[in-house]
Symmetry: C2
Subunit: 306 residues, 2 copies
């Protein structure tokens, strides 16, 4: 376990065994076969290539290398083949990027349908949890909620606005075309992961006062017709996905239900009434942003290597 000097010496346990956190240095990766990086872009940019040059296969959770040519961007259930040339047995270092959380959760549900009927265009609206902005953001949402319930002014350190009982456009910087960075990740990463530069994606990313799982409303346009019964069958057989689609009971995926769970949940599977000839579907997905949206996906990549 590696971290900054500040954390070095602290102990953490994993599967019942205690580990002492060591300081990350240029020497840290000697003899390390796989390293899981989750320390932000600047640390990744400095130590990722350095570790790879020393023979380590780096699975990086930041956005630093995601769009780099030659760096596979992998969701194991979706495009494991993109990293098939990287093998532990080769004893050669490499960088593998973990996609953005919203992209992973979206593609877990969209890919099985894409394989069957080819997605031409996708319109995504997200409902993103506090966890995506880190533990401090979760704590602030909790603190603000208490304050608002007590009639006090909410403490605004992380987001510069009231988050409790409110929602707002995703806090990532807005780029030149008016999309924020989070939205452009969905646009660009989807193309790379699907190896399909023609797929059209638009996204609107919104932060909602939910603790730790993201939800996404996804509208799909297919090249070939796909009816909802077939879609439900495909989704119910897809790896890493569970279907919650009880219309009579009005029971569909919720962030709370998938929190601290590995599987991504999909429901509200229905033929889009705005498209003709069964060329469209609407679905609603929820996935734990910390698990499948980040840590679990990285661990799955490591498992693929092993």
């Amino acid at each position: 376990m590696l971290a900054s000097k500040r954390s070095a010496g602290q102990k953490m346990s994993f599967e019942g065994k205690e580990y002492v956190i060591e300081e990350l240095t240029e020497e840290s990766f000697k003899g390390v076969e796989i390293a899981l990086f989750s320390a932000g872009g600047s640390i990744s940019k400095k130590y990722g290539p350095l570790a790879a040059a020393q023979g380590t296969i780096v699975v990086d959770n930041s956005s630093a290398f995601r769009m780099d040519e030659g760096v596979p961007l992998v969701v194991p259930e979706v495009n494991a083949d993109a990293m098939s040339h990287i093998k532990l047995s080769n004893k050669k270092g490499a960088l593998i990027a973990n996609p953005n959380c919203s992209t992973i959760i979206c593609l877990m549900a969209a890919t099985p349908l894409h394989r069957h009927a080819k997605v031409k265009r996708m319109v995504v609206s997200t409902y993103q949890a506090a966890s995506g902005a880190g533990a401090a953001a979760m704590a602030e949402l909790e603190l603000q909620t208490k304050e608002v319930l007590e009639g006090k002014e909410p403490t605004c350190n992380i987001f510069n606005r009231q988050y409790a009982f409110n929602l707002f456009s995703h806090n990532s910087p807005v780029t030149g075309n008016g999309y924020n960075e989070e939205e452009m990740k969905l646009v660009k990463e989807t193309r790379k992961i699907w190896s399909d530069n023609d797929v059209k994606v638009t996204a609107t990313c919104i932060r909602v006062p939910v603790m730790r799982a993201h939800a996404e409303s996804i509208n799909l346009q297919f090249e070939t017709p796909l009816d909802e019964e077939k879609a439900r069958e495909i989704l119910s057989q897809a790896e890493g996905l569970i279907v919650i689609d009880d219309r009579a009971g009005n029971n569909f995926p919720t962030p709370l239900e998938v929190s601290k769970k590995d599987a991504v949940a999909v429901g509200r599977i229905r033929q889009d009434v705005s498209q003709e000839g069964n060329h469209g579907l609407d679905i609603f997905v929820c996935g734990d942003q910390i698990r499948k949206g980040a840590a679990l996906n990285a661990v799955q990549i490591a498992e693929l290597l092993l």
Copy 2:
């Protein structure tokens, strides 16, 4: 002021004057020129036609008559002409329906653009507040939030699930095509209000833990090109609408900002990267569900009559 027997005799004040609530009976509408109904579908169905037959113009806030042929469905800024044949001076009763809150808020922003470039298709995802389900739902969200913060089991009387720090598919019944009633209102009411049976609409309606204003992510496809600068100009001149679209400051509409305000706010105005030739736009709107989404719109209809 009319209500059920249970409320009769209570006093309420309006603009500084105190009124005694009377019991609603079949005799209540004699000599009444305009009646604002907001008591649910079954009361509207019983007393609406009865009042109209006695010469009263009824502005009804329920869904009882919205899709009835011959009953205008009106958002004054959008289709005031639909009720132009109904005049107080005629001394003839009539029914006028107030649209669903999500539809009103959506069309406040979409209509000015529709007039300019004709909307062919619209994909809407909603972020709906507790207020849409009534005062008891707002109270339950508050109570549940307190309970969850104290580590207690949340009280679930209204929605049968945890609402605090969670979100879920809109609680209206799911219809045969898999859309819930709230979503089909957006589909059908848009066609009626725009007098355009060809416009394609799909919607996914989600309840979020926000108190009293709805937000909507709207993707638009136009018949003729419309660039975002022109769209911003059109929206900034539209009646009842304010544009909040500060990309550099990451400041866009939020439910909290429009709460207890009359105007609907629109922002995140950008050219849709998934459509070619400037034929698409993405926008994000927020509107107070109780004001423009319900009561204000009904009062505006009455003002039009006056």
